[in-house]
């Protein structure tokens, strides 16, 4: 669903024009968000945020926030802040209209299942499921060891490379090896794997000029079809026809050809697509029995299961429908070196437990699970952290202060009060990390810089003031020359300091005043 959220706004609106997508997205929301959407469905105007908060009890505020964030991310809610700085939320109009239509009308798919007189030999549900699983396993096998498996699927090699991008590390001379995420991918649930592959497929679709919004809408629409019913191929658009071929290779769809027409049948994998959005995994039939003597019995004939079990157990016997292995320290060390964690192995064994042991709690015996975890922790017995050791503190107070400071910054690894030594994480703290003593020194030093600049500025200012004063004094003695020029216009440079008090001009001044040099008086004097 993050993929949907990352689409630009225009495309999202186009997506929401399809009522099935609205329903699929509604299903994928967290429960509180679903409730909000349904309550706001028939409210046309904006609802203030405060009213929304009143719907939740006090301890649900974090869930409230998560739900709101999700809704805004998917652009189902639009947030508006009005002039009173109050936020209010509105449901996206396209989404709203389509969901309402969907609620009122019956669910009408763009295509109807074909009548059974044209369609002959529809596979039964079990056959369909077997087909789907078979295709999916083929695909996975080809994904993992592209050199060994025969070319069973029709994916072009460039497509396979795209899928393998995160999972296999390609080196030129050696055979490609699975990366850590590759191993984890193998141990994931089928639905999670499916979604991963589809996500890669969709993000690659832009390079092939197919709009991801179309892909997503078709996939979600597909999930609303009925498993096992045939749908006519000529109801599909051109783009969808291209996609159908790829989806058939993945096992989501079975293609069949009649005499005149061809049709496709969605399998359980396809219809589970929207259900799996909410991370509810459908239990498929498990096949692994783990015994307390560390032996593993897998009742399966699939090569994929064999490969996966080989990752972490030592194979003892392999019969056509049974795989016997043992979980040993060496085989687990191999697995740990490949990046698989003990928790993944244990959860894989638990999820695929055979129905016989599945009801037993726990389905994997405790001693086996504990031993797997112990062997994993055996690999990490020593913890090394790059650090600094500080000793020879001048006094106990400085040491205590430094310790407290380091503890505040969560950098203290170890301290010894008797010998007054402490160890701090290297480069975890901003500057020299030893505590108040050095901090104070730094403070003084940094202030010293500042003060240095301030001091320089002050000295410069004083110097310039003195210079200016001298200049002005000099100017003050030179003002007489300006007076003699006797211009119409006031002289260009006027002394700043007026040595003489200026009497108002309407008062007949005392002629004993020394000559006035101010602009107005010059003009007055110059007029005859």
């Amino acid at each position: 669903m993050d993929m949907v959220a990352s689409l630009p706004a225009m495309k999202l609106d186009r997506l929401y024009a399809n009522p099935f997508i609205c329903q699929a997205i509604l299903r994928s929301l967290p429960p509180l968000a679903k409730k909000y959407v349904l309550e706001m469905l028939y409210i046309d105007g904006p609802v203030s945020a405060k009213m929304l908060e009143e719907w939740v009890l006090a301890d649900g505020s974090s869930k409230h926030r998560i739900a709101l964030d999700r809704l805004i991310q998917l652009r189902i809610f639009t947030e508006t802040v009005d002039r009173k700085k109050e936020t209010s939320y509105r449901l996206n109009p396209t989404f709203q209209i389509n969901l309402r239509k969907h609620l009122i009308d019956r669910e009408v798919l763009p295509r109807e299942p074909m009548p059974s007189n044209i369609v002959a030999r529809l596979p039964s549900l079990e056959e369909l499921e077997a087909y789907a699983l078979g295709q999916w396993e083929c695909f996975l096998l080809q994904l993992i060891n592209s050199t060994q498996a025969e070319k069973l699927t029709n994916f072009s090699s460039s497509m396979m490379k795209v899928f393998q991008r995160g999972l296999l590390s390609q080196r030129e001379k050696e055979a490609s090896r699975l990366t850590e995420s590759g191993f984890q991918f193998l141990l994931m649930d089928t639905n999670a794997q499916l979604w991963y592959i589809i996500r890669e497929y969709i993000s690659n679709s832009e390079e092939r000029d197919i709009d991801p919004a179309d892909l997503i809408s078709f996939l979600l629409e597909l999930s609303f079809h009925i498993t096992g019913e045939a749908y006519n191929m000529n109801t599909l658009t051109e783009i969808q026809r291209h996609m159908i071929k790829d989806l058939a290779d993945l096992g989501l769809i079975k293609l069949q050809q009649g005499r005149k027409e061809s049709w496709f049948i969605p399998t359980k994998l396809a219809t589970n697509l929207s259900v799996s959005l909410t991370d509810s995994s459908s239990r498929k039939q498990g096949f692994v029995v783990v015994e307390t003597n560390f032996r593993l019995y897998a009742y399966s004939s699939s090569k994929l299961h064999c490969e996966i079990l080989r990752l972490f157990s030592r194979i003892e016997y392999q019969l056509p429908n049974l795989f016997v292995g043992a979980i040993t320290k060496e085989s687990l060390y191999n697995a740990f070196e490949n990046g698989i964690t003990a928790e993944q192995i244990i959860s894989f064994l638990q999820q695929n437990a055979h129905p016989r042991v599945a009801e037993r709690i726990p389905s994997v015996p405790e001693n086996v699970a504990d031993q797997i975890r112990l062997w994993e922790s055996d690999l990490n017995r020593v913890e090394m952290t790059p650090a600094h050791l500080y000793d020879e503190f001048p006094s106990r107070d400085v040491f205590e202060a430094a310790c407290d400071f380091a503890r505040e910054w969560c950098g203290l690894l170890w301290e010894d009060s008797k010998k007054m030594r402490m160890v701090l994480i290297y480069q975890d703290l901003p500057e020299d990390p030893t505590g108040r003593f050095h901090d104070f020194k730094q403070f003084v030093e940094s202030n010293f810089d500042v003060f240095k600049w301030i001091g320089l500025l002050i000295i410069l200012a004083q110097g310039s003031c003195i210079l200016l004063a001298m200049v002005l004094r000099a100017l003050g003695q030179n003002h007489g020359s300006n007076y003699d020029s006797d211009d119409e216009y006031p002289p260009a440079r006027l002394p700043l300091i007026n040595h003489n008090l200026q009497p108002p001009s309407f008062v007949v001044g005392d002629p004993h005043f020394p000559p006035k040099n101010d602009a107005w008086n010059v003009r007055i004097h110059s007029q005859p």
Binding site: V382, M384, L389, P394, W414
Partner: protein, 70 residues
């Protein structure tokens, strides 16, 4: 004045600490890497020896394993 020494802080269980101390004493004096033994579970060593310690522990662990020949 406070002295600051750069190195690696090791925290492990007591047997491993003893193993590392033993490893240290088996090396010639120029290659000894333990700067300080803080207590029975913590050591302070020179920074470049982490790989050497890890490989020594891995060897020690492998000596204990037995792989059944197929």
């Amino acid at each position: 004045m406070v002295n600051a020494t750069k190195g690696l802080f090791i925290s492990c269980d007591i047997p491993m600490a003893q193993f590392i101390i033993n490893l240290n004493s088996s090396l010639p004096a120029s290659q000894k890497f333990i700067i300080h033994v803080m207590d029975s579970t913590h050591l302070f060593v020179q920074p470049h020896v982490s790989e050497m310690i890890r490989s020594a522990i891995a060897d020690f662990r492998d000596q204990n394993s037995y792989e059944k020949p197929n």
